[in-house]
């Protein structure tokens, strides 16, 4: 983070989506995007990305390693709306449909330096058992209309989420 010019400051983020722990799933890929406030604008780098598909490691850790790099620079005039990185993990289900396996979000660290974040991941649950079955059967699990929803507070009242898993992220800002 360095002041550039008289009126904006820059936030440079580079890091990587390192690995994930999804004990039940395999062959996942990961998407990331940033959610930020009105006063923020990306100046360089990629704001969104989609990783390769990775398989579980064969050792005890059973980690899904992506090591997927993130490099983006924002400029802003106001710390309000500090960028959040939103990650969503997808993978095939039993029938080979691509379904979402987890959503998660975390703020970009406020202090410069190397940070490691472990993000709990979750997916929305079906509203009923029957729907759960049909969605499983049809391979159309409930999804967010937009993954960015997870970074917002609005409209989250009284909705149930479940399935917490975790994902590691290294960030350097």
């Amino acid at each position: 983070m360095a002041a550039a010019g008289p009126s904006v400051f820059l936030l440079m983020v580079n890091g990587q989506v390192e690995s994930a722990q999804f004990p039940e799933y395999d062959d996942l890929y990961c998407k990331y995007c940033f959610v930020y406030g009105q006063d923020w604008a990306p100046t360089a780098g990629l704001e969104e990305g989609i990783s390769q598909i990775t398989s579980k490691s064969q050792d005890v850790r059973r980690a899904l390693v992506w090591n997927f790099p993130i490099d983006v620079t924002f400029k802003s005039t106001n710390p309000y709306g500090w960028p959040q990185i939103v990650l969503s993990v997808y993978g095939p289900d039993v029938f080979g449909n691509d379904v979402v396996r987890g959503y998660g979000a975390v703020h970009v660290p406020f202090s410069p330096g190397r940070h490691k974040r472990t993000i709990p991941m979750f997916v929305p649950e079906s509203t009923s058992k029957l729907q759960k079955f049909t969605s499983w059967f049809m391979g159309r699990r409930p999804e967010y209309t937009d993954p960015k929803v997870v970074a917002q507070g609005e409209g989250r009242e009284g909705k149930a989420w479940a399935q917490w898993l975790s994902l590691c992220l290294w960030l350097r800002s």
Partner: protein, 1622 residues
């Protein structure tokens, strides 16, 4: 801390300090010794040890030693850390290197020794002698201290900091003292001596001197240690250095030279740098200061000669100090002491000044989950009730108060009726009896009579003792006075006692009387209703004693009375005497006067005046009668007999019991049985009303036979605010019929000290004024009844009773009463009282004024230093300083003042802050403001200007933008409605449904499953692929340039063609055009314009289409002929306002897509025929033919627009005509020719497809009947099930946001009389006129005004007042007019192009149906193919709704006969008859005539503005106005209006030709309803008339406004360009 303890501690500290000081000294010694020992073992530290290099001794040395030797040498060559502490022997240099170096050194040494030998001769003895001492001492200490050394060393480690500091300084000084000294090597001799000499123990004199000199240089502390032992080893080094100094001083030159050389030469082969830990530590010590942890003696912390003073011991209150570990405190103290003004930090008691402990005893942060915990535990989800985000009110909640949950416990025990309509007579008496008995009991308990009697007794005794002269000789006056006081008091008391006694007695009498009455009643009616039974218990008294007491009492009283009377008599006598004297004197005087008068009237004339009251004759006073004892006695006795128990009479104690038996029902007469049954039927419940709102109610309990109801319920009211009122409502239910409100009981709001568990049970009485008459034994309520047989002595009793309840504040879990802060009671300071425990400490409650408290504290001289008073004083200080809140809980803003980095005013002044606030409030101007500048100075003032202007103008009507004042008002009004509606829906916008966030497949029903199964069998690549829906894009992550509007222009029909007849006057210019015909080479591009010459004689046109959107213009290629086919796709970029691509913003885009059709005309401008061979000079002119305008909002909501549109062609298009083409023989021509006009087929869409905003799902409140609303819902779902795409409308939202049944909008309403009068005989013409009038009201879609919110329907009068509305309003008005005209008319809801879902009007003429477009005023036959209405959903009449259930919905294919239930499903049917809903439309519309003058003025202004605009659009050309033409046009426009733009073309053309003979003229009139200026300008711009850049072009512009009633204005603009023909 206890002060005594403190003292003791300090003393011990001091003591230990001394110990320590001593110890330090010792340690220093020992440690030095130890070091020295180490040194010896690893002889690397000092340069003196270099002697080991001595060649003579080389062989004898141990290899280890040798090895380490080399190190210092190499180091030495770089720098001279000679005084550094010993280096561990870890260093290992390569042997080869070593030997090499060794050799070099030997050479050096050889050279040096030569020089040195001379030196040594000069000072032969000093050095070697000096060296002897260390070794010797070493030995000594080694032996002496060996055993204790280890212990000391550990201690030393503790103390290492101070020690090392000292040491360090020491060495540092040494270095400083002789920095330029080069690393000297001890001479060979030196070394030799070191190892071989037998040292002499006694130092010499000179040596001593040098030592002392040295010592002066060293540190003070060092000296202390040295004093005891001047030859300590520590000293050794300094001395050694001295030696070196000497050395260097003497043989600096030669000595240095050689060495320097050597060092430089061999720099390259040095080993890698290694800085030993010790070295580094040493250096760090140089930089760092580590304060000691030892306790600082108190005397150091205090000024000189000051004894520590302990305020606490002196009785002053000191707050508890924060707990800080002792060591930390010591460190801070040490640190402060080393600083210069360190002492100011210490208080009188020698401790660091500290504020009272600010820390809390318990953590305010919830315990953190540790990582180690089971993951399950962390994942356990808890249900938390969602806290609603109150968007608008976030700034209204005062930050001072914590909105918490407070609780009021209301315990309702029960209810007792003291009167009830069902009371029988006996009950009435019983109630009376019970009441009296209660009264009796209460009196008995208080026993006032007894108390007064006792008091009387006491007073009497007091008087008697007071009268005793033995005691009272001191001050007779005062005793006399007190006795008098006593006496008067006795009198008072006696009177009171008598009254009380009398009351008691009468009460008893009444009780007995009532009881007797009751008994007689029971006997009379032969049954008992109440179990009441009165027993009079007689208490025997000792007759004699009683009599005596009685007599004594009477005697005492008599004597007192007598005394009293005597006194009175005395006074009276006194008065009498005085009066008598006066009278006598007067008499005398009178007599004397008479005498005088006789004698000397003349001399003393004024004496007469002195006569006091000459007229007054004093009456002779009558002497008062003496009191008669007998009389008094009689009185007293009488009174006693009346009010007191007779002596010997037994005391009567009434006892009321419920032991009596109630007569069972069977034995009662019928009326009584009825009554009892009635009572059984009744039940009672209470409602708890809090702040006029019902919060809870008790169970309904049956009324007992004794008219008591027991509830025993406790209600816990969770409240937020201080209660305003607390009421209980008593409801009675009789049988199954309704409940009646009997009475309201107002409960007092409890004091803040009343908490649950301590609240007393109170009985609150209530009564009602209801009148009840019953047909059984019950006496009723509010009606007279009597106990007597003859009906006399009537009584009227009202229902009344008592509620026993208790109200108290609940106590929270942690014992804090849950009472809302009193600050909510409008008194600011009270809250402080509540919180602080000060109040409990003085034990008062209800203290309301802190100022008073402070005053009281000042008056009562509270000791502010008394620890007991501390909380109170704190409270007072808070109160007086204006701080109103002393919370004893944790809150974030606790130290708000301290944390504020700027003051509030400054914050408010900040432009940036303001900008942020406004944006967060979603103020329209700032809602999407991006990148708010980081600094105030970067914010432009003008950012706020618009906003401020708007705020100012809120009520000021601006007439600048709106030429017409009425419209300005309307615009303002609309703006305000819009704002309020938007504000209301902003909250709704933040409200998300599950489906907004989560995409979830619905559970498939069987049909979908079947369909999907069917799909499996479907071909993968069908031959006729169906169009698939595009993926929709949510408008969130879009930016400029992402959205494009695609306009696909397919073809057009019936474009007007150029007229050959014009050639008459254009002939002269024809010469220039012959050229084009000659160009045979390019037949396609060759212009067939001047078709009169065309071989076939066919008149042609070369149309092209230009699409303009947001001032971006695209055009197609030029096609030919009146039925051109372009088939081109144009792509126009779309920019959202402010770059905001949110749904709301997109919805409010007001831009239109203009599709203009032009004719491309080529003119040859070559003026000289001679050049014709060498160049081509043609000018392309384009002539506007017509346009289609499609609002963006329509495209946005429709997603795609596909269809054939009528081109809006001006009524007069000079030079063009619509030819009935002879050569067309396609079948539909006949149909098409019915409708005049040109058509264009278009396909418009947005790429990518945007998700249109959804309508707000808000359920509006309604005044409609609930059943009706349910029916509408049912109807709608039924319809939607059958035909999901057909529009079915039953309820709409009116302008105030209420749901209204749609038929209420339809009602015959009168059109303006003027229109009716226009053609009275032609109903069709009238209808058209009316339709035209309606179409002249400007169109404003709701989606624009209420972005994405809802469709609001305004009534016709509102519509006419607003003069703006969308299809529905137009259609409703038109339909109402038609109904008035006696037509059969319906509102037709359906889909049309381009509007999408819309409303049309259907009328039934004699044989056929007509479809009216209310916005354009056009009408179409049912079978008109070019009717824009494409599908019909439902018809709405004034009394019913019909839903189209036919197979088709195209108006061409459906039957409009609504009487057929198979085709039209009606809303109101036999099962649900029309309830006769009243209309919400006004009775009648009132039309004001529009002010003609105003219209004329407006006309002039518009003309002026448009002319200016045209000139603006032509910045590089001269714009000339042809006045002649303008006036001609101006005359012509009214004609157009009169004929409504039809069938005037030919006349007009002829006339114009006549007038403008030699001009080539292109221009056309535009017609539109007037709403504001901007659309007019846009329309003129879109024609492109101004684009002509022929040098000698002239322009003409005329505006005509035709006013219709109610300010509906029809605007005509004639714009033309003229080119003079030469």
């Amino acid at each position: 801390m206890n002060p005594k303890e403190e003292k003791v501690k300090i003393i011990t500290e001091e003591f230990s300090e001394n110990n320590e000081v001593a110890e330090v000294g010792r340690q220093k010694k020992t440690s030095k010794v130890a070091r020295q020992k180490r040194k010896k073992r690893l002889p690397t530290a000092g340069p003196e040890e270099m002697v080991s290099e001595n060649p003579h001794l080389g062989g004898q040395q141990e290899p280890e030693q040798e090895d380490s030797d080399t190190r210092p040498l190499s180091m030495m060559s770089r720098r001279g850390p000679r005084s550094l502490p010993p280096i561990p022997s870890a260093s290992r240099t390569g042997f080869a290197e070593f030997s090499m170096r060794e050799r070099m050194r030997e050479k050096l040494q050889a050279a040096r020794s030569k020089a040195e030998s001379t030196l040594l001769q000069e000072i032969p003895t000093t050095r070697p002698r000096r060296l002897q001492s260390p070794s010797k001492k070493e030995l000594e200490t080694e032996f002496g201290t060996e055993p204790g050394e280890k212990v000391q060393r550990t201690k030393q480690e503790d103390d290492s900091q101070s020690y090392s500091r000292v040491k360090f300084r020491d060495s540092a000084q040494k270095i400083k003292s002789k920095p330029p000294v080069p690393p000297g090597f001890p001479s060979a001799e030196e070394a030799y001596n070191f190892f071989t000499f037998n040292y002499d123990p006694e130092p010499e004199e000179s040596e001593e001197k040098s030592q002392t000199r040295n010592r002066d240089e060293t540190n003070q502390e060092e000296e202390e240690g040295e004093e005891e032992e001047p030859t300590v080893h520590g000293e050794h080094k300094t001395v050694m250095q001295d030696e070196e100094e000497l050395l260097s001083a003497k043989d600096a030159e030669d000595f240095l030279l050689g060495l320097d050389h050597a060092a430089e030469d061999f720099v390259a082969v040095r080993p890698a740098d290694y800085e030993s830990v010790h070295v580094r530590l040493q250096r760090e010590k140089e930089l760092l200061f580590v304060p000691s942890r030892l306790t600082v003696p108190t005397y150091k912390k205090l000024p000189e000669n000051v004894q520590p003073r302990f305020l606490e011991d002196e009785g002053l209150y000191i707050g508890a100090r924060p707990e800080v570990p002792r060591t930390c405190q010591n460190i801070v103290e040490n640190r402060l002491l080393t600083q210069d003004p360190g002492r100011k930090w210490f208080g009188d008691d020698g401790r660091i000044l500290a504020l009272p402990n600010p820390t809390k005893g318990f953590p305010s942060r919830p315990p953190m989950l540790t990582q180690e915990q089971d993951i399950k535990a962390e994942l356990e989800t808890l249900y938390k009730k969602a806290i609603k985000y109150v968007h608008r009110s976030q700034h209204m909640i005062g930050s001072g108060d914590t909105p918490g949950n407070f609780q009021l416990d209301i315990d309702i025990l029960g209810l007792i009726f003291t009167h009830h309509p069902c009371f029988s007579r006996e009950h009435v008496l019983a109630a009376k009896l019970a009441q009296l008995y209660d009264q009796y009991l209460a009196r008995h308990q208080r026993n006032k009579a007894k108390f007064l009697t006792d008091k009387l007794q006491a007073l009497r005794i007091a008087v008697q003792t007071g009268l005793n002269p033995a005691k009272t000789h001191k001050s007779l006056d005062t005793t006399q006075k007190t006795i008098n006081e006593y006496k008067s008091e006795i009198r008072q008391t006696r009177k009171l006692r008598d009254a009380e006694q009398e009351k008691d007695r009468t009460l008893l009498k009444t009780i007995i009387k009532v009881w007797k009455e009751m008994k007689s009643l029971r006997e009379f009616q032969r049954f008992t209703n109440t179990p009441l039974k009165l027993v009079l218990r007689k208490e025997k008294v000792d007759q004699k004693a009683d009599e005596e007491a009685y007599e004594a009492e009477i005697q005492a009283e008599i004597s007192e009375l007598l005394e009293e009377h005597m006194e009175e008599h005395e006074q009276k006598m006194e008065a009498y005497r005085a009066a008598y004297q006066q009278w006598k004197a007067w008499k005398k005087a009178q007599r004397a006067k008479k005498k005088k008068k006789k004698q000397a009237v003349e001399e003393h004339p004024d004496e007469e005046m002195e006569e006091p009251y000459p007229g007054e004759e004093p009456v002779k006073p009558v002497p008062p009668e003496p009191t008669d004892r007998a009389l008094i006695e009689q009185q007293v006795r009488e009174r006693a007999a009346r009010s007191r128990r007779r002596p010997g009479e037994p005391t009567l104690v009434p006892e009321l019991s419920l032991a009596g038996s109630v007569t069972p029902n069977e034995q009662c007469p019928r009326v009584e049985v009825l009554r009892r049954e009635d009572v059984k039927k009744r039940s009672v419940y209470l409602k708890v009303i809090f702040n006029d709102k019902e919060v809870s109610r008790t169970d309904s309990r049956p009324l007992g036979a004794d008219f008591r109801v027991h509830f025993g319920q406790i209600f816990n009211l969770q409240i937020f605010n201080w209660p305003e009122s607390l009421t209980l409502q008593v409801y009675e239910t009789v049988g199954h019929s309704g409940t009646t409100l009997l009475a309201e009981v107002f409960l007092p709001i409890p004091e803040t000290t009343v908490v649950t568990g301590r609240a007393p049970i109170e009985e609150v009485e209530f009564s009602s004024n209801q009148h009840v008459t019953l047909d059984h034994e019950g006496v009723g309520s509010g009606v007279p009844f009597s106990f007597e047989a003859d009906g006399s002595n009537q009584l009227i009793l009202m229902t009344s009773g008592k509620v026993s309840n208790s109200v108290a504040w609940a106590i929270g879990e942690n014992g804090i009463p849950l009472i809302p802060p009193l600050s909510q009671q409008n008194i600011g300071f009270r809250s402080a009282l509540k919180r602080a425990d000060a109040i409990s400490s003085i034990g008062t409650s209800g203290l309301t004024d802190l100022k008073k408290l402070a005053k009281w504290a000042a008056e009562s001289k509270l000791d502010p230093n008394d620890p007991n008073n501390a909380p109170l004083m704190q409270l007072i200080s808070v109160a007086t300083s204006g701080e109103s809140y002393v919370p004893d809980f944790f809150r974030l803003e606790q130290l708000q003042q301290e944390f504020n980095f700027v003051s509030d005013e400054e914050l408010n002044r900040s432009k940036r802050f303001r900008l942020l606030c406004l944006r967060s409030q979603e103020v329209p101007e700032f809602r999407n403001y991006k990148q708010i500048p980081a600094y105030d100075r970067e914010i432009m003032e003008k950012v706020f200007q618009d906003y401020e202007k708007r705020l100012q103008d809120r009520n000021v009507i601006e007439t600048k933008d709106h030429i017409d004042t009425h419209r300005a008002i309307v615009a303002k009004y609309l703006q305000q409605v819009r704002e309020s509606v938007i504000n209301r829906f902003l909250i709704a916008k933040h409200h998300f449904l599950l489906s907004d966030l989560i995409v979830e497949e619905e559970v498939p029903n069987i049909s979908i499953l079947g369909l999907s199964l069917f799909k499996l069998a479907e071909q993968k690549r069908p031959l006729r692929p169906r169009r698939k829906g595009r993926k929709k894009v949510t408008a969130q992550n879009l930016s400029d340039g992402d959205i494009k509007v695609l306009v696909n222009i397919i073809r057009a029909y019936d474009i007007p063609v150029r007229k050959p007849t014009t050639s008459k006057f254009q002939q002269p210019s024809r010469s220039s055009r012959t050229f084009s015909e000659k160009r045979a080479a390019s037949p396609t591009t060759h212009s067939p314009t001047h078709s009169s010459d065309y071989p076939l004689g066919q008149v042609l046109v070369r149309p092209f289409v230009e699409v303009s959107f947001q001032r971006t213009i695209c055009h197609t290629t030029t096609a030919e002929g009146p039925n051109p086919s372009w088939n081109e796709e144009l792509e126009l970029p779309f920019r959202a306002p402010n770059g905001d691509y949110s749904t709301t913003s997109l919805q409010s885009v007001k831009d239109d897509v203009f599709i203009n059709i032009f004719d491309e005309v080529l003119y040859d401008v070559l003026e000289d025929d001679r050049e014709r061979g060498s160049g081509i000079h043609t000018r392309i002119e384009r002539h506007w033919l017509g346009s289609v305008k499609i609002p963006f909002s329509t495209i946005y909501f429709q997603a795609k627009i596909d269809g054939t549109f009528k081109i809006d062609i001006p009524p007069v298009l000079l030079g063009y005509s619509k030819e009935r083409s002879m050569i067309m023989e396609r079948g539909f021509d006949s149909v098409r020719s019915l409708s005049e006009g040109s058509y264009i087929t278009l396909f418009i869409t947005i790429e990518p497809q945007l998700v249109p905003g959804e309508l707000v799902r808000e359920k509006f409140d309604s005044q409609e009947d609930e059943k009706l609303l349910q029916a509408t819902e049912k109807f709608q779902t039924e319809c939607a099930l059958k035909f999901p795409h057909r529009q079915c409308l039953t309820t709409v939202t009116d302008i105030s946001g209420k749901t209204v049944f749609v038929t209420r909008y339809l009602k015959p309403l009168n059109p303006p009389q003027e229109l009716l009068d226009a053609c009275p005989n032609n109903p069709q013409a009238t209808a058209e006129l009316v339709a035209r009038y309606v179409s002249l009201i400007p169109f404003l879609p709701d989606t624009v005004s209420f972005a994405g919110i809802c469709d609001l329907w305004s009534t016709s009068d509102q519509f006419l007042d607003l003069l703006a509305g969308d299809e529905e309003e137009h259609a409703v008005l038109l339909c109402n007019y038609f109904l008035f005209l006696g037509k059969k008319a319906w509102l037709m809801m359906g889909n049309a192009i381009p509007e999408g879902p819309t409303a049309y009007v259907l009328t039934r003429e004699q044989s056929h149906y007509l479809i009216w477009n209310p916005c354009s005023g056009h009408f179409y036959g049912q079978f008109d193919t070019f009717c824009p209405l494409k599908s019909v959903g439902c018809l709405i009449g004034p009394d019913n709704i019909w839903f189209n259930t036919q197979r088709y919905d195209s108006p061409l294919r459906i039957n409009f006969d609504v009487t057929k239930p198979k085709l039209w499903k009606s809303f109101f049917s036999r099962s649900l008859p029309y309830p006769g809903l009243s209309s919400i439309q006004p009775e009648e519309l009132i039309y004001q005539r529009t002010d003609k003058a105003a219209a004329a003025e407006l006309q002039d202004r518009i003309e002026k503005i448009l002319k200016e605009k045209i000139m603006d659009w032509r910045p590089r050309h001269l714009t000339r106005w042809n006045r002649y033409c303008t006036s001609a046009l101006r005359h012509f426009l009214p004609v157009l209006e009169r004929s409504r733009g039809e069938d005037v073309e030919d006349d007009h053309r002829a006339e114009l030709l006549k007038q403008l003979g030699d001009y080539r003229f292109s221009g056309f009139p535009l017609h539109m309803p007037y709403s504001e200026l901007k659309p007019l300008i846009e329309a003129v711009y879109s024609t492109g008339v101004h684009n002509i850049d022929v040098p000698n072009v002239e322009f003409a512009l005329a505006v005509y406004i035709h006013p219709y009633p109610k300010n509906v204005l029809s605007v005509w603009i004639y714009v033309a360009s003229l080119i003079r023909n030469r």
